[in-house]
Every structure is written in C-alpha cells, then in structure tokens.
Symmetry: C2
Subunit: 368 residues, 2 copies
C-alpha cells in the first residue's frame, strides 16, 4: 500500500482529527500554516508559508491537498492545483465564501433559501426592509462566523445602527426565517463521484456558537429527510465536489431552508468519530485520496456531541463514563474558543439525554 | 488540561497505535529508538539512542515512559525510572523476560502452568524427558517469539537434534500441554490500582504467528472465565503492574494453563480499537498517566482481528465493507512481517464468520 502524502492548508483541530482518523490508512500529513505550534504539531510536518520556497516545498512534499477553512484563499488553491490536485476545488470554495453567490447558487439548483437582497447603500437597506419585511438580518457577504459580522434589524429604528456597524463592505439583507430548529446534513463525495450521506444532526446554538449536536433528528418527516438528502446530493454533484460538504438547514413549516454550506468537515459531524462506522474525517481523506467511501451509518441508535468551549471542565467525569469520549484539541484555554468536544453514544434516548444533562456544566459554565 | 508528554522505548506499530489512540487526551509522544524512519515517524518526536546525551534529552522531554517490547533492557528502565516514572516497572519486565522465572512466579501465585525443568546440559534434557514424558518443548529461557528459539521433542530420537540446535544458552524444557485452543486475557491497571479486564480472545496461529483473534470466546465455562479473570487480576496486583498486561492461556480439560505473559498491549487485543468502548492502547496510556480507566466492554456482540502478514492484500475490498476497519502500520512489505490488521465487528456470529472467511486470502496468501 503506497503511502499517500496529504497536504492540509491550516493546522487546527480539523486537520488534527483528519490525521488521527486516517493515519491507519498509511497516510502522512503536511500542514501549511502560519502557526508553528498547533493542534497538528505532533501529527506530521509543518511548513510555514513564509516564502515562495515554502509553498514550493509544501507542494513537492504532498500527493494531494485539502484545507480546513472555507476562508482559504481560492487563488492559492488554484495555484497549487496546477501542480497537485486540491480537493474540494476552488469552485466549492468560492461559492461558500460569498453569501450572495451562495444563496443565488442554492436557488438556481432548487434549494430553498431565505429571501435576500444585495445591500450597497443605506437606500438599498431601506428598500430591502420594505421588500422583505421585518425582521431581517444584515450580514457581510464575506467571512463572519459564530454570529460575527451580523446585525439583526427588528424594527425600522434599528436600520441606521445596523448600517453604521456593518457599512464599508458588501452586505446582504436576509429575510428572517421562522424555524423550529437548526439541522445540518453532511456528506462525502469521492473522486469517482460516489456519495455517502451521514444521518442528519440537530444543532443547539447559544450566543452564536454550536453547543450540542444530536443524531438522529427527532420526529423528522420522511419528506424532509428526502429533501435534505436531495439538497446535499445535488450540491455535491453540481459543484463536482470532492471531499466532505456540510449544509446547514432551518427546519420550517414550509420545508427545509438552506442557511449556508461549508466545503469541509463540520463541528456538527464530530459525533461521527465514535458514532459512525466511518467518521467524517476518515471519509474526507478517503474521498480526496480516491478510495472507496466508508459507511456513514450510526453505530448505535443515538449519538451526541457537546462542544468544550473556553475551558476544560471535569475531564475525569467524562473519562469514567463508558458511553462518553473526550476529545481535546491541544489548544490552550481562552474565552469562547473551541478547545475540545465530548462524544456520547447510547442505545436509547433517555440515556443520551441523561448524559448530555450530566455534562451541562460544559455547555453553560465553560462557554460563557 | 495539562499536556502529558509520553516517552515510548521503541517505535513500531504498538507505539503508533498508542499515539493514535491517546492524542485526543492531549498527550504528546516521544519515541526512543534506533530507527529514524518508523511507524511512529509522523506521530511525535523521535530520538535515537546514539549517545548518553540522547538518553538525557529523551528523559527531559517526557513526563512518563513506557515501552513496546518485553525485550526492553530492564537496566535502562531502572535508570530512566530514577528520573521519570517508567510503567510497567522493571519487575514486570524481568519476570516476562525469563521463561523459568516467569513460570516459577506463575506457580507461586496459584497460576497453573505446564510442568517444566531447567536445562543446562544434555544430561538435564535427558532427565527432563524422563520426568516430564514426551512430547516436550525445549525453549531458550530468554527472547524467542513467533515460534523462534524453540524445538519440539516428540520422540527420544529428537533429543540430540534439539540439543544441538538450541544449546549454548540457558534452556527450559516444558511438558507438552494438550489444549483445545489458545486464549488470551488482557487487562489494564492504573497508577491508583484500578483494574479493567477485556473480554477474552480466542487466537488462531499458523506457523507460529497469530492470524485471527475472536471475541467473545465461544462456549467458555463460567468457571474458566472466572479463572482467567482471577489469574490476570492476581498478576497485576502481585506485580504492582501499571499499564496493560496480557496473559496467554491454553484451554484444557483441567482448566486454563498459563503459557506466557507480555507486559504490554498485545496483538490479540487489537480488535479493541473499534471493538471496545476504550481500546487497549488508550487504556494503556490512561493507566500510566494516572487517569481513570475506560470501559473494556465490547461495543458489539462479536469482534475479530485478522493480521495482515507479509503483504497488503485487496485493501479496497475491506474499505468497502461497513463492519471492517483496515489498519496499516506504515511498514514496507516483507515475508512474515506484521504490516497491518483488519478489525471486524458484528452483531451475530454468522456475519463475523462470513466476513473472516471473505478475508481468508489475507490469512493464507499474504502470510506464507
């Protein structure tokens, strides 16, 4: 079995979990990132992009390249792709990086989204408020995550303040979606075009940060499940996407509404490390290495993931519990920083909910 | 959570699987071994023991030390232990390294073994044949594994040849044990003295090399299960052992007979990576790091492990199968070399046996 040398742009917890999940397939990792000390420091070579020679060295040391973040420079991806394949391609990246492009693309391939308007001036924003109705959410079209770069406009009197806060960059105004819950669907597509879809997850956020994901989603109609699977399959194929892709969804009375996609493994899929036969991390590497995909089925009836945010809590209480798995990212404690997660598996709902409750300190105390 | 820096003497697949199993607990690995390229090359720092300074650098870079092989130099272990703790201690190591010492120790704590005699001369061997009866197995007291350093004496006329082959080093003559099958019991004991025992495995060998391990052991009497659990618990406590310990057993009409122990994680426990809630590798690291032990229970009713020996077979056939997990060790192909293994899980016996059969080429073709 020839060793496959994988380059990762970035060196955070996603790269770390890719390396931990795929080294047993005789892969070797090279991380291309500013940080010299990182969650990936001990899991492969690190090259800092200080010069053109660094990029050359990175390209020469790998067989295939992927990335951790949807904010990766698409020009860099295209440059590298001239010499070694980069998956997902810059097409997936560019569509994810720009909220207007992304939503227009969703609509063009039959994926429902919130109504939206491009906003380049205060006049545009005032028109948007008139056309979309209130409340609306004003967002930067680029970057922004975990609730940053956003302003909610509930009343006409909020318009001026929202404009003052966010003006100076291209903006999008989105109609507020009345949803009952947030879901995500994650799938992998390999070089050959095979697709495997994970069970959907239900995601609880607090202060804009994901706290808990649960699998399976309770009381999800067959129709909505089919809709989610169609959305992600269409996306993967239309993008000719290779690797893992995540689509965030709002569950509403009128079906599933797409919020945004991420051309990568996703926090709401971390449960799959112990919860699925083949984790999102291993399947991402299998996909980009032209291997057959592994099964995305859950190994037990119930799974959950709890983010460890800000500081490590009582780790011993987790280690002692048969159904729980503690994942630390090798990162120092810092307010609102994701520094690890706990996976839980169970064969009944009462057990999974009881265990989540037991770790409520990780959700409330550590996070704020 | 403070990072725990773990030193491993050796850098083979066992160290590799320890690092892959424990990095998520914020551990960092340093491997102390002659090899500069190894299965562990990408999973931590490597220090080659070329000089006293190398040993000093190794000791200074770690918080706790363990080892991969029962042939580790006990003097080195004691030297390191003056400065940082080494687990398991040299007591476990010394008892495992010498077949006479080991068997005497087993008997002294109530663990049944084959009858045996020390052999230092042809006259000793002739007496041993008279006292123990035929057949007997003549072995070197030190080293030797996978059937090396052994000679079977079936008839009186074999005595001379066996002596000629093995003389020149201290020997042990062991009465041949008529057993129906070979089993192993693996357990972990942490610094606090907590003990967790894995389900027993049944092991199939061919040409002296382990080919297949199955969990659970079929039709094992409650009495024998209790005996195995008592043996390993007594051993762990008597040795004040910290880490994982493996005991190989013969299943006979008169109960379980101890063959030998290994003060380490063991090939017959590799199934635990996906088969148990907490693998032998993670539990070994938890044990030596003074963490609570994880559950040794099986996650599904049936598990099996098939060694990949000599060359990689049809890897794709394994990757495609939901219930199968391919583990490559980052080693080049070579006759009779263990270069990987396949783990299988299933909820019924028919499925596990069907899958093992499907991979029979890995057992027969690759191995010889």
């Amino acid at each position: 079995m020839a060793v496959k040398r994988i380059g990762v742009i970035g060196s955070g917890q996603l790269g770390r979990m890719m390396a931990l999940a795929a080294t047993h397939l005789d892969t070797e990792f090279v991380f291309f990132d500013e940080a010299s000390e990182s969650p990936c420091s001990n899991l492969g070579k690190s090259i800092q992009p200080s010069s053109d020679n660094a990029l050359k060295a990175f390209i020469e040391s790998v067989d295939v390249v992927t990335y951790e973040s949807e904010n990766t420079d698409a020009t860099l991806v295209d440059d590298i792709n001239q010499q070694v394949p980069v998956y997902p391609s810059s097409i997936s990246l560019l569509k994810s990086q720009h909220r207007l492009t992304e939503k227009s693309f969703f609509q063009s391939i039959g994926i429902q989204t919130a109504d939206f308007r491009k906003v380049e001036s205060l006049a545009d924003l005032t028109s948007a408020v008139e056309e979309l109705g209130l409340p609306i959410i004003l967002k930067t079209t680029r970057e922004g995550y975990d609730g940053k770069g956003q302003a909610m406009i509930k009343e006409a009197s909020d318009v001026e303040a929202a404009w003052q806060t966010l003006q100076g960059t291209e903006l999008i105004a989105e109609a507020f979606v009345h949803f009952s819950r947030e879901l995500s669907v994650i799938a992998a597509r390999n070089v050959k075009g095979d697709v495997e879809i994970y069970p959907l997850a239900e995601n609880d956020h607090s202060a804009g940060i994901l706290r808990v994901s649960r699998v399976p989603v309770k009381a999800l109609s067959e129709q909505k499940l089919t809709q989610a699977r169609q959305y992600i399959t269409t996306l993967l194929n239309e993008l000719n996407h290779v690797g893992v892709l995540t689509l965030e969804l709002f569950d509403t009375d009128s079906g599933l509404i797409a919020n945004e996609m991420a051309p990568r493994v996703h926090n709401s899929g971390h449960w799959s490390i112990e919860g699925a036969y083949c984790s999102q991390f291993e399947n991402h590497i299998r996909a980009i290495c032209d291997m057959p995909l592994g099964s995305t089925s859950a190994r037990q009836e119930y799974a959950a993931m709890i983010n460890i945010i800000g500081k490590h809590g009582n780790q011993e209480s987790v280690l002692k519990q048969e159904n729980s798995f503690y994942h630390a990212y090798g990162k120092s404690e810092r307010l609102n920083r994701k520094i690890g997660h706990i996976n839980i598996v169970a064969s009944n709902e009462a057990e999974i909910e009881r265990t989540i409750k037991q770790y409520s300190a990780f959700v409330s105390e550590c996070g704020e």
